[in-house]
């Protein structure tokens, strides 16, 4: 009885799990860790996430975060100033979890490699992120009233808040699923 049950269970796991275990756009198996480490810092979530998607620290290298957190009075044209104690706490969080300070997160590693030493302020200016989105026509992002900008990750990446950016999870407002040709 027991001998029979094990292969059946294993088979079921294979069938049910195949879809989620196989990475979507690479050929690797068993991608257990998310693409980037998810945000687990409540202060970051509430302070930064009140105006925009709380971008995971692993989407930029430490030097980018330091520069960004040093210029909050002009945060891409907005005023995002914080009290000094909060600013310091969040800078430490961002730097500690930056792409060049974490291990084992696939997309953090890819972003970092693509940068080639550059330290941009915008995630959307990192070569890897640009390359991943470069064939998307304007109607999908720019002219899509529910997306508007490449910086609006969670508009299409339905599990972006968990640090997962798999292609099969994409659901574009007004368009639906997205497949690379």
């Amino acid at each position: 009885m027991k001998l029979k049950a094990i292969p059946l269970t294993a088979l079921a796991v294979c069938i049910l799990g195949a879809n989620s275990v196989l990475a979507d756009d690479d050929w690797g198996w068993s991608r257990r860790a998310p693409d980037v480490a998810p945000v687990k810092n409540e202060l970051y979530q509430s302070e930064c996430g009140s105006c925009h998607f709380a971008y995971q620290p692993g989407l930029l290298p430490a030097a980018s975060w330091e520069k960004l957190m040093g210029g909050l009075a002009d945060h891409f044209g907005e005023n995002a100033e914080l009290f000094e104690d909060t600013r310091k706490t969040l800078t430490v969080y961002l730097v500690t979890n930056a792409a060049d300070n974490v291990d084992g997160y696939r997309r953090s590693a890819k972003i970092l490699r693509s940068l080639n030493g550059e330290r941009p302020l915008r995630i959307t200016e990192t070569p890897y992120i640009r390359y991943k989105h470069n064939e998307i026509p304007p109607r999908v992002i720019r002219n899509n009233k529910d997306v508007r900008s490449l910086s609006n990750c969670a508009a299409c990446h339905t599990r972006a808040d968990t640090g997962s950016y798999a292609e099969r999870e994409i659901d574009i407002p007004g368009i639906g699923r997205w497949e690379d040709d």
Partner: protein, 135 residues
């Protein structure tokens, strides 16, 4: 042992603490602004400022509080740039609002600079808080 129990009890009391009421926190703020020489405060002037259009060097078109928060602070707003939803600002529609001094002052700091192009005066802040509290 007694100390452990006492610490545990204190911890429980802290987590069960009643959240601050907006009215009390606003009163405290108004008193603080008065101490800075401002007052008396006028909710009507706060209301007028809410929709007043400000033009300044950094903005390509006029800005007001209503740009993001809508004309009615009891309604859900929308961030002018990112489009992210902003919960209602009036405590009558959202009791979590105006319950923390630091939050109030942080948002005044940022949003007055964005909207008006400078810090708000204690008088303006008092007028705005009076307006929001009374809605």
């Amino acid at each position: 042992m007694n100390r452990v129990i006492m610490i545990a009890a204190l911890g429980l009391a802290a987590t069960a603490a009643v959240p601050a009421m907006a009215a009390d926190v606003v009163d405290e703020r108004l008193a603080a602004y008065q101490a800075e020489g401002a007052g008396p405060f006028d909710a009507k002037k706060g209301k007028a400022m809410w929709t007043q259009q400000f033009t300044h060097a950094k903005a390509d078109k006029p800005r007001s509080c209503a740009t993001c928060h809508t004309d009615d602070p009891r309604a859900q707003g929308k961030h002018a740039k990112t489009g992210k939803a902003i919960k209602p600002l009036a405590p009558s529609a959202n009791p979590e609002r105006l319950t923390e001094v630091r939050e109030i002052e942080k948002w005044f700091m940022r949003n007055c600079k964005w909207t008006v192009g400078r810090k708000c005066t204690a008088q303006e802040k008092g007028n705005l808080l009076s307006y929001l509290r009374d809605l």
